[in-house]
Symmetry: C2
């Protein structure tokens, strides 16, 4: 399984991904799902990958070859992020079709970044090659095991959130996911892209034994428990109490 999240903010973009890959419970390995491409000062892309590893590796390889080899279309030639997503989607669909119509070859991608003075954007590319982007109401895209980590994103993230706060929120979201699904796991990678910088600001990798990741896990767990403890108790009397049946009621 996979859990990745990409967030589009006024200040820029945040990308966070886990690195666990499994083909059956006894074939678990570690592969980065975050791939960066770009030309500093001109354009920057971050790709998050999910699904069949052979498909995603073939697509990434082709992206690199097209950039290096003066192909007619490459990440260096596309004019905006939607065009980049079309290109990635078409490579992915072609690669999947090579091996017949089985659903086992499916892969999906998040493509994000900025090209020149165009607005930074993130796009989710479906296995079929079509894609969707974010909105002001839903400024993030999730890939893979998305449910456990969604509530905290919904509460914290708005387009006005700062890059650093959104990155922290994505790590909390990742932590909730890892607690509940063992097939999502470290190393966790985080990239920050600041609007109009045309450079990747930070890219970090947090291993399982990273002191910061451990501290964050423990700190969040403690704070969440503290927050819960401070809630007012259930107001049984103020809620609508239901009749619970008389003595010896046969059923109610």
């Amino acid at each position: 399984m996979t859990y990745c999240v990409a967030i589009a903010l006024e200040e820029g973009l945040v990308f966070t991904s886990d690195s666990r890959t499994n083909a059956g419970v006894d074939r678990v390995s570690t592969y980065s799902k975050m791939h960066t491409f770009g030309k500093d000062g001109d354009r920057q892309f971050v790709l998050l990958t999910s699904g069949n590893l052979a498909t995603t590796q073939a697509v990434l390889d082709r992206l690199r070859r097209d950039m290096a080899g003066d192909a007619k279309i490459s990440l260096l030639s596309v004019g905006d992020i939607a065009e980049a997503a079309d290109y990635v989607g078409s490579l992915s669909a072609k690669q999947q079709a090579k091996h017949g119509s089985g659903s086992g070859y499916e892969a999906s991608f998040v493509v994000g970044g900025q090209i020149g003075r165009n607005k930074p954007a993130i796009v989710f590319v479906y296995p079929e090659g079509n894609h969707i982007t974010t909105s002001a109401d839903t400024p993030y895209l999730q890939v893979g095991e998305s449910k456990y980590g969604k509530p905290i994103l919904d509460r914290i993230i708005t387009p006005e959130t700062s890059l650093e706060t959104a990155a922290l929120c994505s790590l909390v979201s990742m932590d909730s996911t890892m607690r509940s699904n063992v097939t999502v796991g470290p190393p966790i990678e985080v990239s920050l892209y600041r609007r109009d910088s045309l450079l990747l600001e930070h890219r970090i990798r947090l291993d399982d034994d990273s002191p910061y990741l451990r501290e964050l896990r423990k700190g969040w767990d403690e704070r969440l428990k503290e927050a819960f403890r401070s809630l007012p108790p259930i107001a049984w009397a103020r809620a609508t109490e239901q009749p619970s049946g008389g003595q010896n009621a046969a059923y109610r």
Copy 2:
């Protein structure tokens, strides 16, 4: 969709359920999914229902008829909760088979309660009629849209948790689920059963406009945001910073 949770504690049992039923997005209605049966001082049962509404209603009707009509097996005759679950599972499987083998008739149940001096227990009954119970490591059972509300249960609930705290936690879990899935909704019902009481202690119903539910939602949202705000910022320098490629790197 449905979200129900049942929790088995040393002090007793907690049951929480939503009430939204939908057959397509344009046929949304409200039905209680919590049903109580028993004989005060002798035995108490709480059933939570999920799945095809015709199936669950038929099973509940049959349970009531069997209790009222001196059937050979009924909730009044079974010796423990596992036996009650076998009985409910067999009624459910029979009811589903009436309409052919289509999967649309499937239903599942949580059966919980106490019979005499037997240990209180909760059991999840699959559509096929087989069932599983809790363990000390996993003292709760969820039904339906379980992922959004699981992280808080995992952090708070242990067998030693008090009935009131577990009930509050189940409401927080329900709140996270309702925020993220519109097909889970109020009224929310909560029942408490205190071990060896052989009486249902509380049964409340919280409507959408319940002041307590509104207060809890707002209070939890504020506390969660406060907890998040108090987290230490990402230690970019302490994490393993990745090389982000040199100026004009064609790809990296």
